[in-house]
Symmetry: C2
Subunit: 388 residues, 2 copies
């Protein structure tokens, strides 16, 4: 990091609460008039101006646009905009079999991306792979390489963001892996390790469909069934680092054993591996996931039922989430939504049957997240850690 970048990150980290709210408002709604910043933050225009001045001086915010957000020149409302390239972030999603990485600007616009298979789950090997990916992601950045201030890494499981420790990740077989500390030995940037769905939730809140909603949930379907919640103005972190474990609500029969060892978990029926196992058992031979999908599309009763049963349980899980916290919006994402049609009918039926009262006014939106979106979430989590 050069001195200019250090000044920027130090300013973001040391700001008063009011200044932080001003910056996040500009960051997520740029360009925006100062009047609108004042309105959205509840601060006086004088307080907004006081907060903006050092941000402009540090090169994080541009107040020389000379046009209003509506594009009408000459209006007195002087708009301000974030300087996207002022800080560059890297975001890396650790999957069971590969790393997916992106380099983004401050608004999480992707400016470079990379994928690499993971040969081993040994933490040392994964750290090496992440460090190598960070180097490759920076190669195409040119002058912006000196602006990389933060690196976010997201992993499925119980992740303590405060300490950067992956306490428990079933898919990686990790327990108590001090990932942030290991990465800091190799990388000169702020390192943030986060749960993958929580990171995705942060990305959706600041830069996605969550912007402008008072509360929302994300439910991801695929290898795992996860969720993230955004309530009362912030992501729900969990007092002890765990929240959103919708995949382990005991919503199915106790005779269904989950990979986590518990009985009746949602994932015991609805995770991709559970669907594949059900189809394989019905056909008396190992069936790959692609074949299970093809069989279901072709009307094979066992495959149709396996996806349908998964959909029904996911519907119960979403109804449970909605009954419990009453969000404005639920986003269904994850790699499984590519085949959402196989889940949809029974998912919507069981959701409608169990959602309670006017909580059912909650909008349900299906959004195919690419793995790059997950990596972008990791970058968003890293950017957030600079600011909050």
């Amino acid at each position: 990091m050069n001195d200019e970048l250090r000044t920027r990150t130090a300013l973001l980290g040391s700001s008063s609460e009011a200044a932080t709210r001003v910056f996040t408002t500009i960051l997520t709604r740029s360009p925006i008039s100062r009047i609108d910043v004042a309105r959205l933050t509840g601060l006086s225009q004088a307080a907004v101006t006081k907060a903006v001045t050092p941000l402009v001086a540090a090169g994080l915010v541009d107040d020389s646009l000379g046009v209003t957000p509506t594009g009408l020149p000459g209006r007195p409302a002087n708009p301000v905009a974030v300087v996207p390239d002022a800080v560059i972030a890297l975001g890396i999603k650790v999957n069971v079999d590969e790393l997916i990485g992106v380099a983004t600007d401050l608004t999480t616009r992707i400016i470079a991306s990379d994928r690499v298979p993971l040969a081993s789950h040994d933490p040392v090997a994964v750290v090496d792979a992440i460090v190598g990916m960070c180097a490759r992601l920076q190669e195409p950045l040119g002058d912006l390489r000196s602006s990389v201030a933060c690196i976010g890494v997201s992993v499925s499981g119980d992740v303590d963001t405060a300490t950067g420790v992956v306490r428990d990740s079933a898919i990686m077989g990790w327990h108590g892996v001090e990932l942030a500390a290991a990465l800091r030995e190799h990388l000169d940037a702020a390192i943030v390790v986060d749960n993958d769905v929580r990171a995705l939730t942060i990305g959706e809140h600041w830069f996605g469909v969550g912007l402008g909603t008072s509360s929302f949930g994300i439910v991801t379907i695929g290898r795992g069934i996860g969720s993230g919640l955004h309530l009362n103005g912030e992501v729900v972190e969990g007092a002890y680092g765990v929240a959103g474990e919708i995949g382990h609500l005991p919503l199915t029969s106790p005779d269904r054993i989950c990979a986590c060892g518990r009985r009746g978990c949602v994932e015991a029926v609805a995770a991709t591996s559970a669907i594949v196992a059900a189809v394989s058992a019905a056909h008396g031979r190992p069936v790959a996931v692609e074949e299970a999908v093809a069989l279901a599309h072709a009307g094979d009763p066992a495959a149709v039922e396996a996806f349908g049963e998964a959909g029904a349980v996911i519907g119960l899980a979403i109804a449970s989430l909605v009954n419990m916290v009453g969000p404005e919006l639920v986003i269904i994402g994850g790699e499984g939504v590519v085949e959402f049609g196989l889940f949809e009918e029974r998912l919507r039926a069981s959701y409608a049957e169990h959602v309670f009262g006017s909580a059912g006014d909650c909008r349900i939106v299906v959004r195919p997240h690419t793995f790059e979106d997950w990596a972008r979430g990791a970058a968003a989590s890293a950017i957030r850690s600079l600011v909050l």
Copy 2:
């Protein structure tokens, strides 16, 4: 309301966000030094002083204590304290068979209480009963009668606090009852109608065991199984007015039909009526709740199993809540906790079996709430509405 009281309530309602935070901090931690107010609110001491001045002028805050909160005289930190009698609130909990009411000061200390049976669920009759109770609660108040500024009424079910409409209350048989509007025709005070468990949650947050925790849930057991959540600094209201419907998570077998008509709800097994029905069915005759309790204490297998099964399902429900939002603390309350011993063993076993990872560090506290505590929650909701 007299002019002095009007000035006070107008001040509380019109305050800036910073002033509101200053007042709620003084309200909940009184007496407190200005330095601690600044620390807890993140505001400068100058901003605290600016916010305190009009509160003192209006008689809501006292800055003339002359001793520090630690009781050491002569220290420079000038403490401030709320003036408890500056505003009097009434709180009324509408139960299926009676009204319970309290008059409280600003800190929800109870200064009068009243109970009256409800002969009818007809909304007009209930409104009359509430109006009569408000008159009786004010009789013993003497000079403080002129300080009654707000009245909170709490009802089980889907309650829209913003409009004061009880949209759906199963126990009252109410749908779309405009309770706040009907009460305003008779009562000269701010009227707030709230869901009963949400009101209890507000009371616990500001004046109970929730004070000082970052996040907590309340789970109430008894006639219904309800919950309230406090996350990211605020009670979870539900975007459409419904949240905390833990009693309608589909955690039991689909062959158990709930009073709400859905299948497999927690209440279908764990509500008092479900326990009584199970014991009655086993004995082939109607068994009253008191007898069901006595039978369970005497070791009657059917009664022991009915309470045990209820405990197991409540344990699943609490594990679901904890896995989903990861609170610091869960308070188990409600009238059912008087017999908590009948639920406890299987409740704790099923909770421990299904809680996920370090979310299980959540503390579980059992707290017997009296019906006066529920009424006090209604008063807390009304006080909060003056302030926020």
